[in-house]
């Protein structure tokens, strides 16, 4: 199972990010009626989930790194 040190580090990171989210970032952002530009497809973090999935699959198969914005990679016996 997960090593204790790593689990602790992960939980601390969780707490930091949640704290940041709740308090530290409250001054940043826009009003709900100012999201015109942000709602466009070109401004999404993942504009095209199909392109992202296909790309992830190629790079997971040809390189040793995993993990992207979409998180978890699936299993495959890709060579």
């Amino acid at each position: 199972m997960m090593k204790t040190g790593t689990m602790r580090a992960f939980l601390i990171l969780c707490l930091i990010l949640v704290a940041l989210a709740g308090a530290g970032c409250s001054s940043l952002g826009v009003q709900p009626w100012e999201r015109d530009l942000l709602s466009a497809p070109g401004m999404q973090l993942q504009p095209d989930p199909v392109v992202t999935a296909l790309d992830d699959h190629i790079y997971f198969s040809k390189e040793a790194s995993t993990g992207g914005l979409g998180g978890a990679g699936g299993g495959c016996g890709c060579n």
């Binding site: 009003q31 709900p32 009626w33 100012e34 999201r35 015109d36 709602s39």
Partner: protein, 174 residues
Amino acid sequence: MPGSRTLFPRAGLSAVLAVAVLIAAVLAAAAVAAETFPAPPASIPAERFDLGAYSGKVVLMDFWASWCKPCRKSMPWLRTMQETFGGQGLVVVAVNLDKDPGKATAMMQELGTDVVIVTDPGGILAEAYKLEAIPSTFIYDRQGKLVSSHKGFDPDEAETRATELGTLVAGEGK
């Protein structure tokens, strides 16, 4: 023998060239077509909007924008509410929040001519109402008192909300 069949024989450069030609053709076509917006229907600018002008009527005030997907679903519902209850004293006020109201023309036309359209590109009314979501709906009774507010638009709730509105309009008839 290890296979050396290729799906794309030395296609690297050819693929790039093909895409480049395609882009050139499409850009040429796009350059010819110009983007125009039709003139928007009659509307009241936000600075000149006065809720008091509708005293004696039930007012359904809805804040929306063209870039908002649930708003697009709500247009037919707003029109239906106006057509159904307009005769009994309902006024639907649709406040458009597009920074360029020209982009919302098609949706404004969907609302029909009886819905009152307000343009608020500067967000004056939005700010005053401290909106937390788009769309947001506020319902006022005939005395001008706020009786309910609603965030978002869910087609599943449309009928329930219509019934509630009908009750409000009928109950206050004199």
